[in-house]
Symmetry: C2
Subunit: 307 residues, 2 copies
């Protein structure tokens, strides 16, 4: 079984949407990526940090998904990273109400010995220096390094972000962030510029409007599944990235053609994530539902014009 | 050859985009629909009205595309409908600067005798009573009636709009208009409600984010082709509708499966329309370019996951 190394936050989230609000619940990019990747036949590990306020049941949940948590540091007397946000009525934008870095402020990632030769590395959204440090610890060159990031790091740590971006094969980023990073409004031009920064593959996530994969002159588009209701978008981007990385790891195929499939797998898993608050839907989800919705994706986009 | 009857404005437009501005140029929903449908092997006619200020060269352009203009009334001493608008920087929204109805104010459509048994009817954006009047004049039931409309008629002539909507098979409408017409934010719910108003097929146009086709529980999605630059979005929706109707007319197949192809054909033609001001790109366009880009559409969306 191939190995997938995941770095990303493991956190508490408090979320408000037009449909309700939650107290502190399980969240974090690493959590969503790990849960999503667990739908594939892979060995995975999360490198992250929590405080000792982090419940054992959440740790048990991760291990029950065959996620190695030996690289998930628990800081004695520390408090877990906390984020709180409120979504606007259209669910396409949100306000951050509170961010408490807590143990994340001094986080020094430690890659478990057994994962220093991981096949695929998924660098979830975190400080670019943490992402770089994980790559520094690898003893063999991964077959593929995927990086997810956000506008926050472009604002606060752009030089460090540009350094780590140079070292990755795939970047996943949303449309506004792609525009910010490249200075180009056109996503086609933005993707071309970002490819010149390092990543040969650029995935632009457009939320309810799907995702684009760019590589050289090639482009592939995966729609988001049209849903009756989006309940909570939190974690959708991370779930997408986790599905992408999980599928690539399982299939051992890093061709552009197979990345198309990986994008579809990521979009498929993300379509479940948004149906309930936080990680709830991903926890309940079973593989037969995933397969059934994958068929919907196929009929959603496949056509048969004679050319 | 099958017959396509088109109703829609034939007009002057003056357009400002971030890339420049035009004086009065050829425009109007009927014009764009007619030009777009002319890429298919169909007999078509436009029912519309202009003033005698409308240049002969524009009339000649339409006839050179094998469009029958015997139903295009020229009002002696009348002035042609004029619209002027300015697009915002993102090209996704625009302000109307001027609208002069002129000859359109008293327009009574007259369907040419030869087209009263048209196979397909494309009701372009116009007053719903004009759209109804065209249907009233048909001597045989068309195989398919497609209607395009806009928020303006929802605001000013909703009862008349709802009457004509009852009588059509397909409605094409943008996302905001679908929300306004249905009172539902979710496009899935909006499409379901609009289907209950009459049209068995609902096409929701999302501009740069593609188009959705809904029918019963089925849904199909066609992306917009990612372009380096959108120059002028004017007429893109009408070009889409014209490509849709033209392809359906040519293929004589009104199944859901074939409508998928029609949506792709419409999206393909619309991707050209936005590359230059007004109708310019559609006038220069040749069939080999259309075919070549159709192949791009296929590689843009087709994937091969084993299920």
């Amino acid at each position: 079984m191939n190995k997938l190394l995941i770095v990303g936050t493991v956190a508490f989230d408090a979320i408000e949407t037009p449909f309700g609000k939650t107290d502190k619940i399980l969240g974090g990019a690493g959590t969503y990526i790990g849960l999503s990747a667990s739908f594939f036949n892979v060995q995975s590990a999360i490198v992250s940090v929590v405080g000792d306020d982090f419940p054992q049941e959440y740790l048990d949940l991760l291990t029950s998904r065959n996620i190695d948590i030996s690289g998930l540091e628990v800081v004695k007397g520390g408090k877990t990273f906390f984020w709180s946000g409120r979504y606007h009525n259209d669910l396409n934008s949100r306000d951050t109400l509170d961010t408490q870095l807590n143990v994340l402020a001094d986080f020094q990632p430690r890659v478990p010995q057994e994962y220093k030769n991981a096949d695929i590395v998924m660098l979830g959204n975190l400080h670019p220096l943490v992402q770089s440090s994980v790559l520094d610890q690898m003893t063999t060159q991964p077959k593929l390094v995927v990086l997810d990031t956000m506008n926050f790091w472009m604002d606060c740590a752009l030089p460090e972000l540009l350094e780590v971006i140079k070292r990755v094969d795939v970047i996943t980023i949303n449309d506004e962030e792609a525009r910010q990073l490249s200075g180009e409004y056109s996503l086609v031009k933005a993707a071309a510029k970002i490819q010149m920064m390092g990543p040969k593959y650029v995935v632009i996530k457009k939320g309810e409007h799907g995702a684009l994969l760019f590589h050289d002159k090639e482009v592939f588009f995966a729609p988001a599944l049209p849903l009756e209701e989006v309940f909570d978008p939190t974690g959708a981007g991370d779930t997408f990235a986790g599905g992408f990385a999980g599928y690539i790891t399982q299939s051992e195929n890093i061709s552009f053609e197979n990345m198309k499939n990986a994008i579809i797998q990521g979009s498929n898993l993300a379509s479940f994530c948004v149906e309930k608050f936080g990680t709830q839907r991903m926890i309940e989800l079973d593989k037969s539902e995933v397969l059934s919705r994958l068929k919907q994706f196929k009929s959603l986009t496949q056509f048969d014009i004679e050319l």
